[in-house]
C-alpha cells in the first residue's frame, strides 16, 4: 500500500493547517472536510484508508458520524477530542473508533497513532498469531506467553485479558470492551474485576509494576497494550 489516503474531518481551520502538511510530508495523501456531512460524503466517494474524526463538529455529533461510517466501513478511525471529554471518547471507542488523540497533541504522537492503526488494519488481514513486543512474546495460536524466552504462567482469566488486549495491540481497549470479552455479560460495570486482574497481570509481566512498559493505563477510558 503506497501512500495511504487519510481523511481529516475537522472544523477548525488552524488544526487542518497543521495536520495537512505534517501528514503530506510523511507520505500520506490527505483529504479534508470541515463538516460532518461533507466528511461522510467524502468517505463514501474516496474510501480512505484511515479517518481522523473530530468529536466537536458544528453540524453533526461526532458519535453520529462514527455510527454512519461504521455501518459500511471497517477502516481505522481515530478520534480527535478536547480534554475533559472522557465520556464522549469512551462512547466513541465503544461505538467502534480505533483510537483517540487529545488536543493539544504533537505531530509525533499523531504519526505514531496512525502507524499503529494502519499496521493493525493490515495485520488483521494477515492474521498473525504471534505478537512480539520487547521481551514479551504472545503466541495466540498455542496460547503461550513468555518473557525473554522464559514461560510465564497465567490463570485462564489473566490469559483471556492479555489476549483481548493483544487483539487490539497498540490501540486502546475500553473497560467495557475488555469486561465483555473476558467476563461476558456478568462483567458489565464491574471495572474492579478488570483492575484486580490487570494488577496481577502486571506483576507477572512487567519488570516494574509501578512503571508499566507493556500494559498501559488510559485513565477513565481503559488500557492499551504497548507494542513500541
Amino acid at each position: 500500500m503506497s501512500q495511504p489516503l487519510i481523511l481529516i474531518i475537522e472544523d477548525e481551520a488552524s488544526l487542518r493547517r497543521f495536520l495537512v502538511p505534517a501528514l503530506a510530508n510523511n507520505d500520506y495523501q490527505v483529504l479534508t472536510a470541515a463538516t460532518g456531512a461533507d466528511g461522510l460524503a467524502m468517505a463514501r466517494s474516496h474510501n480512505p484508508d484511515i479517518i481522523l474524526l473530530d468529536l466537536g463538529l458544528p453540524d453533526l455529533e461526532g458519535g453520529k458520524v462514527l455510527q454512519s461510517l461504521r455501518q459500511w466501513s471497517r477502516k481505522p478511525i481515530i478520534i480527535i477530542s478536547a480534554r475533559n471529554q472522557e465520556k464522549d471518547k469512551v462512547q466513541a471507542l465503544d461505538l467502534g473508533a480505533d483510537d483517540y488523540l487529545t488536543k493539544p497533541f504533537g505531530a509525533e504522537e499523531l504519526l505514531a497513532r496512525i502507524r499503529v492503526a494502519l499496521r493493525h488494519a493490515t495485520q488483521a488481514a494477515l492474521d498473525t498469531p504471534v505478537l512480539q513486543c520487547g521481551s514479551l512474546r504472545l503466541d495466540l495460536e498455542r496460547r503461550e506467553v513468555s518473557m525473554d524466552g522464559v514461560p510465564v504462567r497465567l490463570t485462564p482469566l489473566e490469559y483471556r485479558l492479555l489476549e483481548a488486549l493483544a487483539q487490539r495491540a497498540g490501540k486502546v481497549a475500553t473497560h467495557a470492551q475488555l469486561l465483555n470479552e473476558v467476563w461476558g455479560p456478568v462483567g458489565a460495570g464491574q471495572t474492579h474485576y478488570l483492575r484486580i486482574y490487570m494488577g496481577t497481570l502486571r506483576r507477572k509481566i512487567e519488570p516494574d509494576a509501578t512503571r508499566p512498559r507493556y500494559l498501559l493505563t488510559e485513565p477513565s477510558i481503559g488500557y492499551r497494550l504497548n507494542v513500541d
Partner: protein, 629 residues
C-alpha cells in the same frame, strides 16, 4: 423541679436554673401529668416550659402518675436527686394546705431530700386583692355607720362582706343564694320584734332592700376584680410568650428555622398549626414547615393586597379569615416578607381576644424574617467581595503567566521567519522553545480550568474501587514521558486494599505532588509509600528538598500562593490548590509535614467508605494449562 402548667411556672424554671448554677449541679425539670387534671392546652403550655428548661441546660422528664408527689418520688428516686424545688400557688383553704404539706412530707420521707417551695402568685395580683378587700371593708364600714346613725344595728354590712367573700371565692352565681340565705338568717335571727317579719313595716322593707342592694354591689365589685385579675394574668402570660418567642426567633439564622420556631410556639399557644408562606426562588412561594402540609390557600400574591396599610393599623386589628385558616401579613418597612397562616382545631376562626397577641407575634416574625434576610444579604456581599478579590488576583496572575509563554512563542516564531537563514542549532533551539512554551501554556490553562471546575462543583467525582498501583503507575509514567526517567521510589505493599477513588483526578494529584518534589530536590529520590489504617489508606510523598517552613504548611494549599523563594520558578501556585480540592471531594485530607532528616512530606488520607466490591469468581492456575509445552 416540678412544673405546673400555669404561666407563672416560668419563674419556677428560672429559679431552678439559678439554684442549679449557684450550686454547680445538674438539674432536671419534671412535669407530672395527673390524668384528668389538665386540658390539652395546658399540656401544650407545659411543653413550652419544659423546652425553656432544656434550653437552660436542664434534663427534662414528662411523667404520668396518679398524684404529683407519687410521680416526683418515683422519678426522684430513679435519678437520685438531692433537692426538690416545687412551685406552689396560694393554698385555697386549709384542706389544700394540708394536702400540700402531706405530699411534701411524703416526698421528704421517701427521698430523704430537702424541699424548697417557691410561692408563685404574682405579687401584683396579691396587692390588688388586698386593696380591693380594703375597699370592700371601707364601703361596708361606711354603710354600717350610716345604718347605725339611722338607728339600725350595723349587722347587714357583715353579711354583705360574707356574700362578697362567697362571690369572690365561688363566683357570682353563688352570691344570689348566699344573699338570700343571709337575709333569711338576718330576718329570723335579728328581727325579733315584731316577729314574724311584717312586710308593712316600711323600715324593715327599706332595711332589706338596702341590704340586698349592698350585697349586689359588693358582688359586682368582686366580679370586676376577678375579670381584671384574669385579664392581667392573661396579659402576663402573653407578654411572656411574646418575649420567649422573640428570644427563640433571635437565634434563627434561616427562614426555615423561623418557620419551625413559629410552628412550634403557635401550637403551644393557640393549639393550632402554623405555616410561614414566603417568596422562594423565582415566582414560587414556599410554605414552611413542609410537614404537615399546609391546607390549600389562595395564592399569597392575591391575599397580600388585602392587608393594606390602613387595615393592619386598624384598632382592633383584624386578621383575615379564609377557608379554615387565619392569615396575617408579615410586612416590614422593606415590603411584604410573607404571610403567616394559622389553622385552629376544627378550622374555626381565631377568637377576637387573641387578635392582638396574634398581631404582635406577626410583628416579631417579620422582624426575625427581615433579620434573616439581611444576614443572607450580608453573607452574599461578603462572598461577592471575596470572589471579586479572587477574580482580580486570578486576572493578575493569569495575564502575567499567559503573556510570558506567548511572548516567547511569538518571538521564536517571528525569528524563524526572518529572511536571513539562522544557524541550524539556533533554529532547533527556537523550535524547542515554541514547543516547551506552548506546553506550559496548555498546562496552565488546564490547571485553571480544573480548579475552577473543581471549586464550582462542575466536576462530578466518579469513585471506583481501584488498586493504588495502577494510579501511581499511570502518574509516574506520564511524568517520565515528558521528563525522562525520574528517581521515584515506589513502595506499595501487595496487601493494600482496593481504594474508592477517581483515577483521573487522583493521578493529577500524584503528578502535581511528584512534580513539586522532583522540582525542589532534583538530585535525591522522591519516595512514595502507602499503607492501610483503620477506615483509611494513607499515602505519603516525601522528598529531601529544602522543606516548607511551618508557617506555610496551611497556606501552600491556597490558590496562587507561592512561597517567597519560589516566586521566580515559573509556577502560578495552582498545583497544591488543585490537590487540596481533589482530595476534598474524595472526602479525604491532605497536609504537609517536615520530614525528619530534612525535606517535605505530603500525606494524603483517603477514606475507605462503603462496601468493597464483591469477591471475584475463583481463578486458579490450572495444572493442565502450561504456558510452554
Amino acid at each position: 423541679m416540678a412544673l405546673g402548667s400555669e404561666a407563672r411556672t416560668l419563674r419556677l424554671v428560672h429559679t431552678g436554673f439559678r439554684m442549679a448554677r449557684e450550686q454547680g449541679r445538674p438539674w432536671v425539670a419534671v412535669h407530672v401529668e395527673v390524668p384528668g387534671w389538665e386540658t390539652p392546652a395546658e399540656a401544650d403550655q407545659a411543653r413550652v416550659w419544659l423546652q425553656e428548661a432544656s434550653e437552660l441546660g436542664a434534663e427534662t422528664a414528662w411523667l404520668r402518675a396518679a398524684t404529683v408527689s407519687e410521680g416526683l418520688i418515683e422519678e426522684g428516686g430513679r435519678r437520685g436527686v438531692a433537692q426538690v424545688v416545687m412551685g406552689r400557688t396560694r393554698p385555697r383553704g386549709p384542706w389544700d394546705r394540708l394536702e400540700h404539706s402531706r405530699s411534701q412530707e411524703a416526698i421528704r420521707r421517701s427521698l430523704g431530700v430537702r424541699i424548697v417551695t417557691l410561692p408563685l402568685d404574682p405579687p401584683t395580683v396579691r396587692t390588688r386583692t388586698v386593696q380591693t378587700g380594703a375597699d370592700l371593708l371601707g364601703v361596708a364600714l361606711v354603710i354600717a355607720a350610716l345604718f347605725t346613725a339611722l338607728g339600725f344595728p350595723g349587722i347587714p354590712p357583715v353579711f354583705a362582706l360574707g356574700v362578697g367573700y362567697v362571690a369572690h371565692r365561688w363566683g357570682r352565681a353563688f352570691s344570689v343564694p348566699a344573699s338570700l340565705a343571709a337575709m333569711a338568717i338576718f330576718v329570723t335571727r335579728f328581727i325579733t320584734d315584731p316577729f314574724p317579719f311584717q312586710p308593712e313595716d316600711w323600715t324593715n322593707g327599706l332595711y332589706l332592700a338596702g341590704a340586698l342592694a349592698m350585697t349586689q354591689m359588693v358582688v359586682l365589685l368582686v366580679d370586676r376584680l376577678h375579670l381584671e385579675t384574669r385579664l392581667l394574668r392573661r396579659r402576663e402570660a402573653e407578654t411572656l410568650l411574646v418575649m420567649l418567642l422573640g428570644r427563640a426567633l433571635g437565634r434563627c439564622s434561616t427562614a426555615r428555622e423561623v418557620a419551625l420556631v413559629l410552628a412550634e410556639r403557635l401550637r403551644g399557644l393557640f393549639q393550632a398549626q402554623a405555616w410561614l408562606l414566603f417568596p422562594g426562588e423565582g415566582d414560587g412561594w414556599l410554605s414552611l414547615p413542609e410537614a404537615p402540609e399546609a391546607p390549600a390557600s389562595p395564592r399569597p400574591t392575591d391575599l397580600l393586597p388585602q392587608f393594606s396599610d390602613a387595615a393592619s393599623r386598624a384598632e382592633p386589628f383584624e386578621p383575615l379569615f379564609l377557608g379554615s385558616c387565619t392569615y396575617v401579613a408579615l410586612a416590614g418597612p422593606g415590603g411584604a416578607e410573607g404571610l403567616l397562616q394559622l389553622r385552629l382545631e376544627g378550622g374555626r376562626p381565631l377568637a377576637q381576644e387573641s387578635w392582638g397577641l396574634f398581631q404582635s407575634l406577626a410583628v416579631q416574625s417579620t422582624l426575625a424574617l427581615e433579620r434573616v434576610r439581611w444576614l443572607e444579604a450580608a453573607q452574599q456581599a461578603r462572598l461577592d467581595t471575596e470572589s471579586e478579590r479572587m477574580r482580580n488576583t486570578l486576572l493578575g496572575a493569569v495575564s502575567h503567566d499567559l503573556r510570558t509563554p506567548l511572548a516567547a512563542i511569538q518571538g521564536a516564531a517571528t525569528s524563524l521567519m526572518l529572511p536571513e537563514p539562522l544557524p541550524e542549532a539556533t533554529r532547533l533551539d527556537l523550535l524547542a522553545m515554541i514547543r516547551d512554551e506552548s506546553q506550559r501554556l496548555a498546562r496552565l490553562l488546564s490547571d485553571l480550568l480544573d480548579l475552577t471546575r473543581l471549586q464550582s462543583g462542575a466536576i462530578r467525582i466518579q469513585k471506583e474501587w481501584q488498586l493504588l498501583d495502577e494510579v501511581v503507575g499511570a502518574a509516574v509514567l506520564r511524568m517520565e514521558a515528558s521528563n525522562g526517567p525520574l528517581p521515584i521510589l515506589v513502595d506499595l505493599p501487595e496487601s493494600l486494599p482496593l481504594v474508592p477513588l477517581d483515577g483521573a483526578l487522583m493521578e493529577q494529584v500524584l503528578i502535581n505532588l511528584l512534580g513539586n518534589a522532583h522540582r525542589h530536590a532534583p538530585q535525591s529520590p522522591v519516595e512514595l509509600r502507602a499503607w492501610e489504617e483503620p477506615g483509611a489508606v494513607q499515602l505519603e510523598i516525601a522528598d529531601r528538598g529544602p522543606g516548607i517552613p511551618a508557617e506555610f504548611h496551611q497556606r501552600v494549599f491556597d490558590k496562587f500562593f507561592r512561597m517567597p523563594r519560589d516566586l521566580k520558578d515559573g509556577g502560578v501556585g495552582l498545583g497544591l490548590a488543585i490537590c487540596g480540592a481533589i482530595v476534598k471531594i474524595h472526602g479525604g485530607a491532605i497536609w504537609v509535614e517536615n520530614r525528619p532528616g530534612g525535606g517535605a512530606r505530603f500525606r494524603i488520607s483517603l477514606p475507605l467508605e462503603g462496601l468493597p466490591p464483591a469477591q471475584l469468581e475463583t481463578d486458579h492456575l490450572p495444572p493442565t494449562l502450561k504456558a510452554t509445552p
